[in-house]
């Protein structure tokens, strides 16, 4: 039991920190003076990051173990997603300090909710039991609804919260029905025991397939997978930009964490061949995301469709997991690269849009004169999202495509060709932003103020976007260490 307390330490720190953050918010009502809620939020996240990294580097967790009788996995996969969640919430916190500078809002509660949302992701990443998965998914959704509607005076933010809530409740209702079917087939909710039960008594194929499709409704909603993506453009547009950044990275990563765990450990391909289904969904997701992104004029909507497209590439990696051992590390590497790239892009969008009071791409015209550093960084973020060197996105995409080709499966090969065509399509709308920033004449030319904190965030994400490619070794080995998974006692 002594060990389990250490294994649980990131969650304990986050839970206590989140509750304490509510009081810190109460104590620092004044907007002037030291920004206690922000600093406290960052301290809590950093404190939770230390034991998480320690567990991953200690090497003990790579083989995988579990606490609480197998419902809470302590393995590389969980640690990886915890690290991604903690880092991305940290960056979102920094973006928030700038975004909410001139907006009246409940500050203490906002940062407490961010911490709780991170707690939801960290527990979700470690959940190895359907009850835990359902509870943590609902926890994450509930927190996200509140955060999406945080700008109460803004009708678009209200719309975002209500749409997200309605869509999310239906998706989780369908998912819990699928979970109940699996429980009915196996008599257990633990995904390791589910796997062992199915190996002894194979279930009826059609019934299990139905359950898997229903599970995918809940997971697919979190990762914005077509056809469960309709909420994402409206929510991304209406939610406060830092929250959009959180949804597009932390929340999406959480969806992939649970998807990977359930399909790799619980319902593996030996039990039900889901690779074909995921491949079809991957092709549809990336194609819809990339095609619909082209006509978008609002940069947040464009990034929403772009993130749907990114989910499609990641699903290609998930499908390749059925055939190739390097698929999982490459998916993780892609998620790591995508985290910094997308957060960097949203940092630029947040900084610019609060100052020019517009989210339209046409208002980014002439940005190279008005905010040169941000414009240059944005070019690299767009290149990285498109997967063009010299950026991290290239490495991620290269590894995923390599895993798909290495598997030797002809369907995966065909899907890789679809993905490459989609990449070429995506270059068009990513470079459209660059075209506006560099080559379209601006109506106004006065420079845009760049506060130090945003320079730091954009500079840091920019540096990571380059470093992950240039100095790839440690990141690749981290992805390999992290792909260790708890598969039973």
């Amino acid at each position: 039991m002594n060990f389990s307390l250490f294994y649980l330490s990131p969650e304990l720190i986050l839970a206590l920190g989140g509750i304490a953050a509510l009081f810190v918010g109460l104590a620092s009502k004044s907007r002037k003076g030291f920004p206690w809620p922000e600093v406290f939020c960052l301290l809590v996240l950093a404190a939770a990051l230390v034991p998480t990294i320690a567990m991953l580097t200690m090497g003990r967790v790579t083989s995988g173990t579990s606490i609480f009788g197998g419902i809470f996995a302590v393995d590389g996969l969980a640690m990886f997603f915890k690290i991604v969640a903690l880092i991305s919430t940290g960056i979102v916190t920094l973006i928030s300090t700038d975004f909410f500078r001139r907006i009246r809002f409940h500050r203490g509660e906002y940062y407490a909710l961010l911490i709780f949302a991170t707690l939801a992701i960290t527990t979700l990443a470690a959940s190895a039991d359907l009850i835990m998965i359902y509870l943590t998914l609902e926890f994450l959704s509930l927190t996200s609804y509140i955060l999406a509607g945080y700008l109460k005076q803004d009708t678009k933010s209200n719309e975002a919260a209500v749409k997200y809530f309605l869509y999310g409740s239906i998706a989780s209702a369908v998912m819990i029905y699928g979970m109940s079917l699996i429980y009915g087939l196996t008599g257990t909710t633990n995904i390791v025991e589910i796997a062992s039960t199915f190996k002894v008594n194979p279930a009826s194929y059609s019934l299990l397939y139905l359950a898997v499709v229903m599970l995918l409704a809940g997971f697919g909603y979190k990762i914005a997978m077509v056809p469960f993506h309709q909420w994402s453009p409206d929510v991304y547009e209406g939610a406060p930009t830092p929250v959009t950044a959180f949804l597009s990275v932390g929340s999406k990563a959480a969806g992939f964490a649970v998807l990977i765990r359930v399909f790799a450990t619980g319902i593996s391909t030996a039990i039900l061949d889901w690779a074909g289904l995921i491949m079809v969904l991957s092709a549809v997701t990336m194609t819809v995301g990339n095609l619909v992104a082209i006509p978008q004029t609002n940069i947040k909507r464009m990034l929403a469709y772009s993130s749907i497209g990114q989910a499609g590439y990641l699903l290609l990696g998930v499908a390749a997991m059925a055939y190739s051992s390097i698929a999982l590390p490459s998916v993780l590497l892609y998620i790591f690269a995508y985290t910094f790239t997308n957060l960097g892009a949203f940092a630029v969008v947040s900084m610019i849009s609060t100052r020019i009071k517009s989210d339209y791409i046409r208002d980014y015209a002439g940005l190279i004169r008005r905010a040169p550093a941000a414009a240059v960084a944005m070019v690299f973020f767009m290149l990285s999202l498109a997967g063009i060197p010299p950026t991290a996105g290239f490495l991620g995409k290269f590894y995923i495509f390599a895993a798909a080709i290495q598997s030797g499966n002809s369907w995966l090969l065909a899907l890789t060709i679809v993905a490459i065509i989609n990449t070429i399509i995506s270059v068009y709308y990513y470079m459209n932003v660059v075209r506006y920033m560099f080559f379209v004449k601006a109506k106004r030319i006065e420079p845009i103020e760049q506060p130090g904190i945003m320079n730091f965030v954009i500079g840091m994400t920019f540096a990571m976007t380059i470093i992950i490619l240039v100095y790839a070794g440690p990141f690749i080995s981290m992805a390999h260490i992290s792909s260790g998974m708890f598969k039973g006692i």
Binding site: I71, H106, R107, L113, L135, I146, S204
Partner: protein, 188 residues
Amino acid sequence: MPFDLHSINLFDMGKQFVFTLTLQKISFLAVAFMTFASAVAVVTMKNIFHSLLFLVLTFLGVAGIYLLLSADFLAAVQVLVYIGAITVLIMFALMLTSKLMAKRVSQTMEQWIVALPVTLGILVVLIRLVVLNPWGMKAAPAGPTTGIIGTSLMTKYLLPFELASIVLLVAVVGAILLAKEDKSDDPS
């Protein structure tokens, strides 16, 4: 002679068996019909308050089904939480919004023509799959479940049990945040 006795016994047992099955069947059919009919009424009533009253009946029907499945604790929770708390909460919300109380509104919109075949299709697929396939699971022996549930909540499922309290905390904070009227002199 032994043969006759045997057959009589079998006949008696069979008769008893048929009888108990029918009793269970009758109560199931009654409860299921009540649940289904009131659920239909919930989504068709023009007055939203009437919908709510039928919702109580639906929840009661679901509690009845839990009882028939010998899930006693679940049935009690269903009555306490759903009928006792949730519907009363909705009732308060309705009574406080006078606009909704008297209004007669249609619950269908023009998209029902598309929605009906889709939902019916899903229903047919679900029924076919769930009824025609073997489940392989045997029902647990009937008996009181409260103690078992309590033990597992305090041992194996301690973590989700504790986590649920944080979920509730977040829900409370969020409800206050979203419902609170922001005054212009609000300091934060």
